[in-house]
Each structure stands twice: as structure tokens, then as C-alpha cells.
Subunit: 536 residues, 2 copies
Amino acid sequence: MNERSANYELLTPVSFLERTARVYPDKDAIVNGDRRHTYGEFHNRVHRLAQGLKNAGIHKGDKVAVICANTPHMLEAHFAVPLIGAVLVPVNFRLTASEVAYILNHSRSKAVFVDNEFADLVKPKIHEIPDLRFSVNICDIDDSTPLDGMEYEAFLAGASDEPVVCDVDDERGVISINYTSGTTGKPKGVMCHHRGAYLNALGEALEFSINYESVYLWTLPMFHCNGWCFPWTVTAVGATHVCLRRATPEEIFRLIQKENVTHMCGAPTVLITMTSFPGARDVKLKRKLSVITAAAPPAPTVIENIEDLGAEVEHVYGLTEVYGPHSICANQIAWKDLPAEERARLKARQGVPYVTAQFMEVVDPESMNPVPWDGETLGEIVMRGNNVMLGYYRQDEATEEAFKGGWFHSGDLAVVHPDGYVEIRDRAKDIIISGGENISSVEVERVIYRHPDVLEAAIIGVPHEKWGEVPKAFIVVKPGTNPSEQDIIAFCRERLARFKVPKSVEFGDLPKTATGKVMKNELRNREWAGRDKKVN
Amino acid sequence: MNERSANYELLTPVSFLERTARVYPDKDAIVNGDRRHTYGEFHNRVHRLAQGLKNAGIHKGDKVAVICANTPHMLEAHFAVPLIGAVLVPVNFRLTASEVAYILNHSRSKAVFVDNEFADLVKPKIHEIPDLRFSVNICDIDDSTPLDGMEYEAFLAGASDEPVVCDVDDERGVISINYTSGTTGKPKGVMCHHRGAYLNALGEALEFSINYESVYLWTLPMFHCNGWCFPWTVTAVGATHVCLRRATPEEIFRLIQKENVTHMCGAPTVLITMTSFPGARDVKLKRKLSVITAAAPPAPTVIENIEDLGAEVEHVYGLTEVYGPHSICANQIAWKDLPAEERARLKARQGVPYVTAQFMEVVDPESMNPVPWDGETLGEIVMRGNNVMLGYYRQDEATEEAFKGGWFHSGDLAVVHPDGYVEIRDRAKDIIISGGENISSVEVERVIYRHPDVLEAAIIGVPHEKWGEVPKAFIVVKPGTNPSEQDIIAFCRERLARFKVPKSVEFGDLPKTATGKVMKNELRNREWAGRDKKVN
């Protein structure tokens, strides 16, 4: 029954480009510096890329890896690879050559497309990837072709522009394998499917009212859970993609103004970079700008600062395992009349499931019973829905573990407030247990963020003879300020229960993942070296 | 594999209410005169209704008919009936008692909910409907209970408010059977399914940017293809439903102002009623109002007049067989700079498929080959996608006929313009063949609509000795005007090829279906009485 017919069509985000290229053939699809592609051109290039892949022997189910910045090539790959029923493997270009080789091998990728800036991530190990048949050089910033194999434009030029018929025969077939930037251990390959990507892409458009007049700035890396499905979302509605190779505040603000950007996504660290940029106050927004943020729980202060620029913050929460965001701190009409600080506090919560995501609960991980909506009882966030991964590629045990009790387990600890909004207290592994008391590192961080000299902060538990562990603060200060350890501790004393106050403070940079998450495990490893605390 | 699990959830619009009741429990869901229901109350009432149906012996797959105005009861039925896996049969209250009995019998409805205003449609024939087990009286305007059986509120009060677990086990299972208001012949029962309704409902929200701040006015009858899925759309995003028993211009304008309406749907006849209302010019719109119109192709003049009121017209096209709209005349940024008349002309076209509808072509119905995009070659509009009906209930032959060649056949004749936008020239049966030349009745009507004294117009072919048939105009004039037959003919002569000019004009009212379509067959029957022209 579920074969393509007059009244049944597979749900796949690939279909979005077909429709948009028909409706808006002459509209700007992609802006990349001075170059602009219309939707007609985008469509043509996608079909050439698909033909090229077929000519090169890529078949349905084959894996195609891409290591590339936020450029048109990555958008093209998001359509061309699934169009022929192949599987996209986007690779984080901030990994090491060994990690990249691990991913290419583990995913059994048959081809790899590499921006020449990142060729050194592949070249040294390329002979240790036996399944790899060919590589293609993406020359976005210069003409060098460091890898054996064609240059991307030549690869396209060599293929016919005869339209390729979409070769997907199961809407729950794998569309991409996204390796988590896992802070520890080997990366795990999250399998996403066409149906989930289609629904999630529509979900994003719905939650943020993205339409044909929208302009989307690519601050979020596309390699990171397929850029939260935005390659498909933006294309679905015929909006414009604005590419961005390096997310510096200068470039972000220049493009926001030049292209009249309406939407962008980013981890709080991107927001912090923006608000601490000296030129930020001079920026004039001609259109409403929505900044969609997730990843680490944002401090309310960060939300307030972005709103001071005239932008609106939308706060979402998710993981690679749920194709990016799964919940949104959905606005309530009554919040508009609240003072900015109070509103920011409400919006810093992880909120409620997307319309298209449907199920998110906070449960006792043993009994799987939901916790009461009291804003106090801690439980684990679990999710269900069409946008939950199929599983981890070639890791059945990890998959089974993740799906215990029929829900996907996020590993995040949270409470549910009386209004039904979920708020994360901590990653399960980041909770600090001091003298038997739980301390939420997030709670302590939020207090520290309110200190006027603090740019960024991270709290971890460090060894302590009497209490087992105690909180320690790692702080990045704002330029031109110089707070002392005692200043910070005193500030916390006034605002926190004594056992939650950091016992020591260290100033300096914070180690971060490619997506802007602070790598607390690295800080912990340093502090706990030689001890037997289990460090995840 | 496709059983509910952590990563698979059936697509059903029933799920929307569950999510919205969680996120916006205290927000206005439904306004009905002075009464207002929050989403919490709406949810509670839906679950009571579902429990009541179960208690009364309604099982999965059973049909439940509803004959009711645009009141909260009809919204509740759109969720409660499918929630228990039963099938909703909304019945047009403008039919005759015999037609209603035919539908109740043909659908094998086990229960019928009837607004007491329409009890006379059911009562005389109720003993001729053997499958019917019980009826429920809906007392929206008075307390009378003309039918045997309970009163609606008592039916709800008697049921527990224990939440009902959604009992749908196939997303392509039937959610409703919608009988077409067919201008001739027996009505046909269009079977819609959960997946199609879910996707179409999201599609509406996406195309018209409907969100939690939107307010939707119920000018379109809910019995008409489930109100184009808007009971589910408006609920999905947590917007507010404003009920409307009788779509008079006074009530429409009063509610637009009182409730700050942002969206409404209606046939061009509703738009004409609005723009010809004397008080229309005094209306102050505090918020942007989108008027979504379809059914008969609207004359550009009608679009211009509505825009003069400060509202925006969105023009869509579809049929009951595709759950309401399938295509939209999608706006292009460049149109904004065009003169109003030119823009209205472009927007009067049927356009391009919805993002979620995907496929609409104009083909030669014999070869099924697409016509060239030349704005001239006539073909039939055919559709495919998840929002195409499963078929006609218990009418296999008609179903097969509708799906010839693997597409749904609309019966509408159209051209495709060079920009890919489809424009209807006529219903296949409304085309006039005069001396071997095709005349589009729609083309002639559009010219006549530009005459300053014309309120409404319909053109049909009437018998003629020499030419076989010739066009005749039926015209409703604007109040206070008195054009002559010769005025109209002279006006057309200046603007149309001679063979297309109506040879005669008749002034008076036009016969219409419940959804505002002019019943041209009735005009034709009159003119062709005793002749052997095949009248469909």
C-alpha cells in the first residue's frame, strides 16, 4: 500500500527543492560572498552533482562524506546525496586527522568531498581508509587541489544536467549519519531518516515563521546535525541562505546588515561573541532578527543582552539524536508585559516539544514515571517522535542503551515547572555531588554570569577530602576587567547556599567543542588526574 | 517496523490538541458569542466527548455524522471522533432531508449529532436509517431537543474526563468521509486519512504564517471538507477559533474588529458580500487580516476590492478530494511594486502546489503529457500527493475513474503560464463550444466583473441554431444600478473577440451551492429543457 501513488508520496526533504525551483526559479537561493545562486541554478547544480555521483559509481545506500565549511557545496550535498538514495556523512572539520579517519572508516564512506582548507585532515590518513573510492576537492577560497581527484566545479561540469529522478523507496530510510562531536570516547554515528528530516524541517519553519521573504544566516555549522535541518527548511519555503565561512562578529554583523538577515542560529557562545563585540551597539537592524539559540543552557543575561541589540531570542533544545532542536521555550502572550530580566529567566528554560516533535517528558530514569510539575524534582529528559534517530550506526549496544524503556534518553537532568515547561538543571555527568548534596553546575554558572566582569563561566566538581567534591569555577573575564578570586566567591556567597559556592576560581580560556559546548570533561580530567573519579 | 515506538509516531491531527493543551492551557481556544473555552477546557470537553462515544458503543471504524453550524461542537467532533479511531461524517446543513438521509445511510453512520436548528433535516426520515443507533441534540441557540436522544452537554457531563488514549493504528486510516456538495447526481463520499489531514493542516499554517498569536474567523463552513483542515491547523499552533453561525457581513465585520481577527477563508461570494456591505469602508483593521479565498476563480476586481479594505487576499485552489486547497497563488517579492490591478490579475491565478501538496500538473487528459508553459494550451489539472483522498467510499468505479493514469483528475481545465503558475480556464463541463471554437466562461465572466454595475456574473452556453451554442450572461447588479442588456453586451464587445461576447443577458439572483459555487447546471437545465445537450 505504501508505494508512491496518486495519494501517497514519501516524505523526503529532497522534494522541497523541486517545488521551490519551480515556484521561485529566479530568486536568490544562496549568497556566498559576492557570488549568488538562484533557485534555478541551485536546482541545476544539485542535479549535476547527483549525476556526477552516479557516474562515479555511487549507488543507493552508499555513504558520501563531506568536510566543508558553510558554503554552497554543503547545501548542494544535502540535496544531491539523498536524491540518489545515498547517505550523507557530514564531518566536523575541527576534529583531528585520526578522528576524521575513524569516521570515514566507521561510516564506510565511498567518497569524500573536502574543502581544500581542510585537506590536511584527510590527506595524511587517506590510505588507511580502504573503502574510499575517490575524493573531490572543494575550492571555495583558493584553486589548490591537494587531494587526488577532481575539483568540485569540474566534477559538476562533467555531469549532465538531465534531472535525476528521486531514488528513495522508504521514507524511513537513512538520509544521513551524523557523528556526535562526543566530548569523550569514539564518536557515535546518529542515523537520521527522510521522514524525520522532512517533518523537522517543516517544524522549524512553523516555529519561527520562516517564509519566502526570510533571509537565513549560516552561523551554525552545517556539519552539526545537518545544521538543525535548516538546509531543508530554508529551501522548503524559498527563503535565502547566506553562507558564512567563519563566524566572526565582524562578518556576522556585516552580513546581517548587508543581506537584511531575519534568522540565524547559534550556541550561546556565538551570542556572547556578538554582544561583546565593540561595534555591536552601532548595528542598525532594518528587519526583525530572530536569533535561535541552543546547545548549552543560555544564561538569562545572555538573552537580555541580545534583546538589547533589538533582536529576538528564540530558545530551543535538542541533540544530534533528535535532528537538532526537539523543544522550544514557546512564547506566551502574557510574557510581553514582564520586565526584561524576568522574561529572560522564563525564556532560558528548555520549554515544550515542537508541534512536530510531540513528546518530551522528564522521568525518573528507573521507573520511567514522569516527575511532578513542581519545578524541583529532578529527572531525566526523555523524548519520542518522528524526529528521533533510528539508532547509532553499527553500535547496537549503544542504541539499545539509548532507547531503554521505549524512549530516547537524553542524559540531561531537568525539572518541570508548574506551567509544564522543562528546565535543564544539568547534564547527568555534570552534576556535582558534594557531601551528599546535589549541586547543579548550571545554577552556579547562572549566578556567576550576572557578575559584571564575567564573559563566560564553567563550574565543575573538583576533589575534596571531606566533601568528596566541591564546585570550582573557570572564568573568562571581559576585556579590560580584572576581578579577583575573592570577588567572585563573595558575589556567589550573597546569592547561593553556602555549599554551592565555588571553593576556588581559575581565570583563562575555556576548552570547547566545535559547536561551542564547553568541554567540562577536559577540565575534569585535569583536576582529577590520578584520582579514581569516573570521568565520562 | 511502523508501529509506534521511540522513533515512530503516527501522523494524526488529533495529536495537535494534546500538545497545545499542554503549552497553552489557559489561552482562548474557542470564542462562541459570549462564551469562551480555553485550550484546557477544549481538551477536557474533547476527551469527555470521546468517552461518551465509547460508552455509547461507538467503536474504531464506526461512522459518526454531525450536522451543525460553525460552533464549538463541530470543532470538538473533529478531535473526539478520530481520537477513538472512529470516522467523522460532517453533513452539509443546506441539503434536503432526502439528501441527508442518503448520506447517513450511504455512510452507515451509527450516530448523528444535530444542531436543533437543523433537526428537521433528520427527524422526518430518521426511521429510514437502519444503521443509526442514537442521536444527540446540539443546543447552541435554544434548549429544545427535537430528536430522541440526549442533549449534547448532558452527553458530555455523563462521561468521565479520564483522558482517552488515541486509538489510531494506521496513519492512512480514514479520519473522515466528506460528501461532496455535488451540483448533480448523488453526493460522493471522499475518504480522507490521518496522515493527509496532519500534513495539510501543517501546510496551511506554513503558507499563511498562522501562529499562536493568530485569530481565525470561521466564515468557511466546517462541514465543507473539514473546513479545509483549519480545525486542526488553528489548534496545532495554539491560535484562537472564532465561531460564526451565520456569515453575514455585519457579523463578519463586528467579529473582525472585536476579536482582532487575522485570518479567515471564504468563497469569492463571501468576499463580494463583504465588499458590497455599506459599512465596509468604516472598518478599522488593527491587525493584518489575511483573507484566503478559493472555490470559484475570483475575478481580479474582487481581489482589488478586498485589498482596498486593507486586507490581504491569498488565493488558493483545491477540491474536497484533496482536503481543501492544494495550490496557492504564491506571492513573489517583485509583485509588490506592480499596480494593484496587475497584481490582482496575477493573484487571480490558481498558482503552484503547496509545499506539503507537492504535485499539480496540467496535462492532456488522453496522453497524460504536460501541456507547454505557454499560457494558452488547455489541459486538465491533475494532482498527486499525501493530501489526495483515498477514494470515494463504496464507489469503486468512480474512484477508479478519478485516478486514471495514476493521478487524481480535477475536471478543471487550465493553462500553465510561462512562470509555471496554473490558471483555470473552466470546469470541463462549463466550457462553451460555439461554432467549433472553445469559449472559457471564466474569461467572459472576468470581463463582465469589470463593469461598474456588476456584483456577480455567470456565463453558460445556450442553444443556438447556427453555432450549436452561444454564451449567455446571468448577472446580479449592484444595489441602485440598472444596466441594460445592451450596456453589458457593448462593454464586452470592446474587450472580447466577437464570438465570445454574450448574445443575451438575464438579470436576477444566481442559484448557489452551500459553499458559494454558482450552480451552472441549474441554469443550463433551464435553458436546455427539452433539448438533447448532455447536461452534467
